[in-house]
Homo-oligomer: 204 residues x 4
């Protein structure tokens, strides 16, 4: 992509493989349109026009606008969310949850995520892809601090990590996607506090 590349100059058509330039332009155009005009404002024709790309080029590589948005999300997600690995468990969880809240409510990929989560309610196929390709990686990041905590003896070895994740992030997503309430740090901190309080109880 950088050094040498197949060709420095823009080109149309290429026997081996697609145009990276077109791919990037499409993903960015979709992202931009979503942020600027909302999900209904994202249309294949609009993406094509803004990306300076032919509609057929989009249909050649993606099956729908949702497909484009999923790829855009996956491309962008990584750079936003890596759970911290410093300090004690409480600090790490607090940081991760508050970063997650910020990611979901304030960033462009967060907006894409919310749109895809919305569309997943309307279409089982979208739901499946959304869960596999968008939610999966996110959830893996959510598990990471807990897995490390188990390894380090900060949590009992028989902890049900899936249930723990549901307890920790469930209320967060509920606020973001359902009630629309803001998610201040006090809220995420309180979630962490309650969660950790339970781990110190003799019961379970």
């Amino acid at each position: 992509m950088s050094e040498g590349g197949p060709s420095r100059t823009a080109h149309h058509g290429n026997r081996h493989g697609r145009s990276e330039r077109a791919r990037q332009a499409v993903l960015e155009a979709a992202d931009d349109l979503l942020v600027e005009r909302g999900f209904a404002g994202v249309t294949i024709e609009g993406i094509a026009a803004r990306a300076g790309v032919a509609k057929q080029t989009i249909y050649r590589w993606w099956s729908s606008k949702v497909d484009v948005l999923i790829e855009a999300f996956v491309d962008d997600m990584a750079q936003y969310l890596t759970p911290p690995d410093e300090g004690d468990l409480e600090h790490r969880l607090r940081t991760h949850l508050s970063r997650s809240a910020r990611f979901l409510t304030r960033t462009a990929p967060g907006a894409v995520f919310r749109a895809l989560a919305g569309q997943a309610q309307h279409d089982p196929e979208v739901a499946a892809r959304f869960r596999a390709e968008c939610l999966g990686p996110l959830r893996a990041l959510d598990r990471l601090p807990l897995e490390r905590a188990v390894e380090r003896g900060e949590l009992p070895p028989d902890t049900d990590l899936d249930f723990a994740v549901d307890q920790l992030v469930g209320p967060l997503y509920y606020r973001v996607l359902v009630t629309g309430h803001p998610v201040p740090e006090e809220f995420t901190d309180a979630l962490v506090e309650r969660f950790l309080a339970l781990t110190r109880l003799p019961i379970q």
Copy 2:
């Protein structure tokens, strides 16, 4: 259709007031289409055709298909969810949560709710109406057992009920709307158990 009676056919028009028949037919048609074909399969033209109603009649009384679905949801919701008032707090909460899970995942109004929650991600106006008219009543039902528990001394009087509701139902909605995991009774029971365990802690 031609000869005879004042009219064999349903009446067209009514000088005074709207046609209740048309209203019901529209709401049912919208409901049915949602369940049969999903949100994208619900169109104003489709509703009109199935309800035997003119498009204009729909636009006269509703502003969009979402508006129709909200009204359909409000009409149906009541009969499904009334939190129980028997037994102790744990039992009441368990029953309510498991009923809520069933409502969201297995009933027609639950499907409407999920579709509206999805559309709320795409459109702030929908989000506002959805929260006010659909989520509000549900959330009031979620608070009810906790409010009663405070009155009866089963919970401390300074309990933050909104936060409590978020903790209790957040993971449930998260599963239903985000991860798509099933929501068995073990899950809702565990949520209640953790929640009540915390109320017995000296902290808070």
Copy 3:
């Protein structure tokens, strides 16, 4: 439909019958585009844009651009070609043939006719409609002077009129559509002269 009309002002939609305004605008736009840009320059989208009409309105009433052009031709044809009924047979035939040549080569409906004749070579359905709706009336006009001549005794009563028409106008159409040669009055006059010379022969 003419005086007073259902409404002086433009309107959208009408329970009973279509918009005459839209119909006229479409036919004129098609005519204009054909003359200005040729047959390939006539597109449904182009007609719609120039007529200020939605594509669907065109598809509702016509099945293709050829369908539009046929109707445009039929609408316009009448005012151009009425064979004269003054003078003797030779004069009437000369006038009619030279008018026909002018019609085909110099007028807008003539251009439409040539385009449709061309398209008829590509599509049997177009050919059938073209012959029934465009050529038929024209050919009836071609027969008229000969029929009158038979009635008046200027031609023998057993004359094969169809063959006579082929002989008279065949070379004309051949020049216009095939060789592209000009069709001056000398040419049409000579055709008439030869044709009449034969009627004076004892043979037949």
Copy 4:
């Protein structure tokens, strides 16, 4: 072509000169598509696919599908039409006209001719090439018997041959391209009879 040859696969490329194999395949594919699916069914992509040839190879040597069809017609025409040179003028003309009618209505190159004549109505450039390369040779063949007749004294030396050709074949083309009527031998014979009858008149 499969086993043994210097190469199993068809050759790709040739430093000097084009591939005759590709040329033939393209012309045949175009011919076949025209006969099977009509003019609209002939597309550059379709020709390329059926001929097993790259689109670019077509564009390298031809400028359009019409260009391909013209070359296909020229390649095929010769073998069909050579006016006979036996018997008296009447017999030779009768034979030539009835063969011409058969050629135009019943043979593959005849179908190509009709399609090109159609397209010539839509595009002046096509018209020019069509007249020069397709019609010219045919018309030369039409003149040939008349020229010979003049040489042999069967026709007066001052006969206007172009006009004679128009008279003889005009009605034939008119039937084929315009009215779509069948062209039986009686028709062509009658044309010849009338034409010759005039040459025996004192007038002209």
